[in-house]
Symmetry: C2
Subunit: 347 residues, 2 copies
């Protein structure tokens, strides 16, 4: 699949990073006393290429929505039609992500990548197909669909950055998508199905057994191609994960920082870092999900999440919950007085 090639990923700006480290020491607080927020502030300065930092002018959430063939195995507490219903709920502002986005001052975009229903034109412009193959017994996508989905994600990232987005937040929504994500997480990190499987949307014990079996079957087909991101997406993935992979890589190419959400976006991040090495420098992990495979994914990404509150909702909600910490980190570096300005004696 040579159609998918990313240019070299730029590094966050080293000069701005150094200026930010120095500025942290000049602000009216004991050095290091804002802990992780000081590191975050430095990272924001490096991503923005400027110090003091600027407030984020246009943070944007993109929720990648898709159905998955494996839902037919009864791996979710919800019927498949809920994916399309939740697209409508997101568009009309009633979903958790809408409230979390409003709370964090973030604009919301929904992208239908593979919902198994008709959705309104403006959100279906990058739709690749409806649903996906049942990954325990057939490929999720064709090769052409993988390429189209990655390209869809790239295009969406370009559209957002061209539209002025200076901070991107990613989310996912679709019945059975944690079955797909757990399969990919197991393939990429080497953990066993029983360690990767979670309750997802709250499946009961019998559903949990069906989900574990589905992951085991899918993993049998996926493990042989686990070293090859695009083939893994084709065999065991879905158009949503592929689009997120393209989106995350392209955001880095466009020098735009991203807040990751839970398991599915973390899996896409692992794949994107493989396709576009160095992209991970442009991402921060918003939260640690209650999905057990997420921890292994975060460790492999080398990312320590900002919050750990037992969330397992998706839609970008964990990233949005953490977002005010990011804005605070940036604003502290940008807006606090220095010792000199405030006339405060230093240590």
């Amino acid at each position: 699949m040579r159609d998918v090639e990313f240019p070299e990923v730029p590094r966050p700006d080293e000069q701005a990073r150094r200026q930010a480290v120095a500025r942290q020491e000049s602000l009216t607080k004991p050095v290091g006393s804002l802990g992780r927020l000081e590191e975050l502030g430095v990272w924001i300065a490096a991503c923005q290429g400027t110090c003091p930092t600027r407030p984020f002018a246009r943070p944007r959430l993109v929720v990648f929505a898709a159905d998955h063939g494996v839902a037919a195995n009864g791996v979710s507490a919800y019927p498949p039609e809920v994916t399309a219903q939740m697209v409508t709920n997101l568009l009309t502002g009633g979903a958790a992500a809408n409230v979390a986005a409003a709370n964090a001052g973030v604009g919301v975009r929904v992208a239908d990548i593979a919902v198994d229903a008709d959705t309104p034109g403006p959100i279906a412009g990058h739709k690749v197909r409806r649903g996906s193959g049942v990954i325990g017994r057939e490929d999720a996508l064709t090769e052409a669909e993988v390429v189209a989905a990655v390209q869809a994600g790239r295009t969406i990232a370009d559209e957002e950055v061209d539209g002025g987005a200076d901070l991107l937040v990613v989310g996912d929504m679709g019945i059975a998508n944690t079955t797909v994500a757990a399969t990919l997480a197991a393939a990429l990190t080497g953990i066993e199905p029983v360690a990767a499987v979670g309750r997802g949307s709250g499946v009961d014990d019998r559903g949990w057994m069906r989900k574990t079996t589905s992951i085991r079957d899918a993993l049998r087909r996926g493990r042989p191609v686990a070293h090859d991101p695009l083939n893994l997406l084709r065999v065991s993935g879905g158009a949503d994960v592929a689009a997120l992979t393209g989106f995350l890589a392209q955001a880095a190419v466009r020098r735009t920082p991203v807040v990751l959400d839970g398991l599915l976006t973390g899996v896409a991040a692992l794949l994107a870092e493989d396709l576009a090495p160095g992209a991970a420098r442009w991402w921060v992990a918003g939260h640690r999900s209650a999905e057990p495979a997420h921890d292994a994914v975060l460790r492999q990404l080398g990312k320590e999440p900002l919050v750990d509150l037992g969330l397992r909702l998706g839609e970008g909600t964990g990233a949005l919950a953490a977002l005010p910490l990011l804005t605070l980190a940036g604003r502290a570096l940008g807006e606090m007085a220095t010792y000199e300005e405030a006339g405060v004696s230093g240590p």
Copy 2:
């Protein structure tokens, strides 16, 4: 000290709590998928006595500023005059707390309880004294000063609630105040000085030894009265801790939820719960501080903090960093669509 008596503390509203638990199950998300945020939403409903929850209309930070005699022992990286300088910085908007408060939509009040300098009239109205005794060899306060400081905190809480505050955030600022707080934490939780001592504002190794010695000496005088909150405040405390104790107890009496900050506010919380049993039901722990004694305090309070980012700045910054999680929890419960409203199929 019979002058300090609190009326019985009311419980958060049980009917609203039950309605909130039921409402969580009706919202368009898998039950429990917002994790800790769902519990927080329920707590907010119970505190407000209404479900759905209302947005917080007037959240307010009160920073209790004071000097401490023990600063003369060289326990801080900063000279004592920094307390008064930082009061000015807080009043002119350059401190970390100002930025964190703006980021969270919170109004800021500074209360000079015992700053060893003249401060502007409006913030000095509840001043009890200048500084405090050197707690390793003399009492921190007189009996009358303890009563006056607790009463000052009560009055400030009343003023804030009467002024419309519906969520309170507490902070502290003052050179050497972590030496006092670590002493009180050791007295109240039974941990040893060497386990309680932290770097505070970033004291060096020699200062750390002086700080540990100061805590050990102070603890020798404080431990015999550790079971008696007001006498402990008199012997080993300070007017800021005493005022915070009164403030936290009175906030609960006035049915107003509070977000706790780090070590010093946590110690005041332990004392306030002793003076006004049940008050702790009205508080949430904002963060886990990098100060080592804070963890023991949180465990004794039975509070799991919302964020854990290595902060050790004080001023309420840890509580303010966590505040958007609280507003999100309340808004999710209040603003998300139900399955019925959104036409989404349930599990």
